[in-house]
């Protein structure tokens, strides 16, 4: 599982930091490194670009995994350079941005756009596999999620736009229901495709979603 990101246009980052002259930069050693959007090279490039626009970079760091709780420690360890900055630019997914944001009171600016939580299909190819709907139906859909694999998130079969196994929004993308159909056919479970699915509950866990794990001791 990876958080898939893309870099924001430089103009947008510039607009977001218009009022700040001293900046601290944070990258991420996990997902954003792998997608080449916020690893050591990208942090270096952004640093240069900002310096060429007259900004002062008080320091920069690539945190091993920006979204985890160690981030607060890392920010603390680099306190001087961080304190010296007016804002932090984070080149990590939105989880990393929010982690930094909760560890530091001053403005935190994202340099990336978070696209989806992706699964690797083949090297460098990611697809969105789950929308965290709270009521998994993979057991009835041959392990393929129609909520994410179908553009419209349909449950009861293909729309009229399905075209030779491709989706109406993009001929490069497979129609989820052709995939589900073929897989169920192979498994001799086509009766599942005949089953009526009532409308989904979109509030299995109403937003904002939160949970407290009850961890058993000594097991």
């Amino acid at each position: 599982m990876k958080s898939i990101t893309k870099q924001k246009p430089f103009d947008e980052v510039e607009m977001l930091i218009e009022k700040f002259n001293r900046i601290y930069l944070i990258g991420c050693g996990t997902c954003a490194t792998m997608t080449k959007t916020g690893g050591i090279n990208e942090v270096r490039d952004l640093k240069k670009a900002l310096q060429s626009r007259g900004k002062l970079i008080t320091g920069c760091i690539v945190i091993p995994t920006a979204c985890d709780e160690m981030t607060a420690e890392m920010v603390k360890e680099n306190e001087k350079a961080v304190q010296d900055a007016q804002c932090i630019i984070v080149m990590a997914c939105a989880l990393g941005v929010q982690r930094v944001n909760s560890s530091w009171p001053k403005p935190v600016i994202p340099a990336l756009d978070t696209l989806f939580i992706g699964m690797e299909e083949s090297p460098g190819q990611f697809f969105e596999a789950c929308d965290q709907c709270g009521q998994c139906i993979l057991g009835e859909t041959a392990g393929i999620c129609p909520l994410t694999a179908c553009h419209k998130g349909l449950l009861n079969g293909p729309c009229g736009g399905t075209n030779n196994g491709k989706c109406e929004v993009d001929p490069e993308k497979d129609c989820a229901f052709t995939l589900i159909y073929e897989r169920l056919k192979e498994q001799d479970r086509l009766d599942l495709l005949r089953k009526y699915h009532p409308p989904k509950n979109y509030h299995v866990m109403p937003r904002p979603k939160r949970t407290v794990l009850l961890l058993e001791r000594g097991s």
């Binding site: 419209k152 349909l154 009861n156 929004v169 009526y196 699915h197």
Partner: protein, 296 residues
């Protein structure tokens, strides 16, 4: 209660429906002209619901205009722009105003239209919308709460007889039948042999099938639809026929082809009727009926 359209469907006659595409804006002159032209020549007039995800005057407004003029409207209702609360509200409104035929559609994807950044709702799909209507008819809403005055609709749906792969399409068709669809208006058909094959299968269900007839206005359009529109396949001989039409005569040829197909469907009792779609050329519909040898 029964609607005029339901009566026509159950009368055993060869049923003719057509459709009105409302304008983008508030100048309704042309829409009223089309309604006036067609209302007495067909059994019902569908009004499209932001077809192809292009924002327009709404289906409900168009249906009210059809009613005002003494026509029989079919409200096309997609799940693209409204959640289950809004869909139910609109059904209550439709019923209270006398709009009593509904065609349940999933709706096109938002990115194919002219507001590509809009949120696609799809809280329900077409099958669930059919279930929702039957639930309202039972006197309660989808949340199980009692209605103060309920509804009754003649409900329909669509099917693509030449979808590839076909089997998942047929499974969905059967779910729509189970959900209470009384009539189906199909995606455009051109290959009558293939369509006859579909009808042999569909005849086992207690529903009325109206074959989709989309007017071909040129060989270019026919090739384009075959290449780009899902489930549409214009056979080469029809494309050749259009291409060989004298200059400026392709539309006339298209009218002739449509008329010929309708006449065959009727004569050989292949299906229960036709749904004529003359997208942006509503004024050609009477000519198609004449070409089919139907009374106008």
């Amino acid at each position: 209660m029964t609607t005029r359209f339901r009566q026509a469907l159950n009368s055993g006659k060869f049923v003719i429906t057509s459709e009105i595409g409302p304008p983008k804006g508030t100048n309704l002159e042309k829409m009223y002209q089309h309604i006036d032209l067609l209302k007495d020549k067909v059994d019902a007039l569908n009004v499209t619901d932001h077809q192809s995800s292009v924002m327009r005057f709404p289906s409900m407004g168009g249906c009210l205009a059809v009613l005002e003029n003494g026509g029989e409207p079919v409200l096309q209702m997609t799940c693209r722009d409204r959640n289950r609360i809004a869909l139910q509200g609109d059904l209550l409104l439709a019923y209270s105003k006398g709009i009593k035929n509904v065609l349940c559609l999933t709706g096109d994807a938002v990115p194919v239209g002219d507001h590509r950044a809009a949120k696609g709702i799809f809280d329900l799909d077409s099958v669930q919308l059919l279930h929702l209507i039957r639930r309202l008819e039972g006197g309660t809403d989808f949340g199980g709460n009692e209605l103060l005055g309920s509804v009754e609709f003649c409900t329909g749906a669509t099917v693509t007889p030449e979808a590839i792969p076909l089997e998942p399409q047929l499974f969905k068709f059967e779910k729509k039948v189970d959900a209470g669809a009384e009539f189906f208006q199909t995606q455009a058909v051109y290959d009558l042999e293939k369509f006859t094959g579909f009808m042999q299968y569909a005849r086992q269900f207690p529903v009325k099938i109206l074959a989709g007839i989309v007017l071909l206005s040129s060989a270019r359009m026919a090739r384009y639809m075959t290449a780009h529109v899902p489930g549409i396949n214009v056979p080469q001989n029809l494309i050749d026929e259009l291409a060989q039409a004298p200059k400026g005569g392709a539309l006339q040829k298209g009218i002739e082809i449509a008329g010929r197909m309708i006449a065959t469907l009727k004569k050989e009792s292949i299906c229960d009727g036709v749904h004529i779609m003359a997208i942006n050329r509503e004024e050609a519909v009477p000519d198609i009926l004449v070409a089919a040898g139907l009374p106008v």
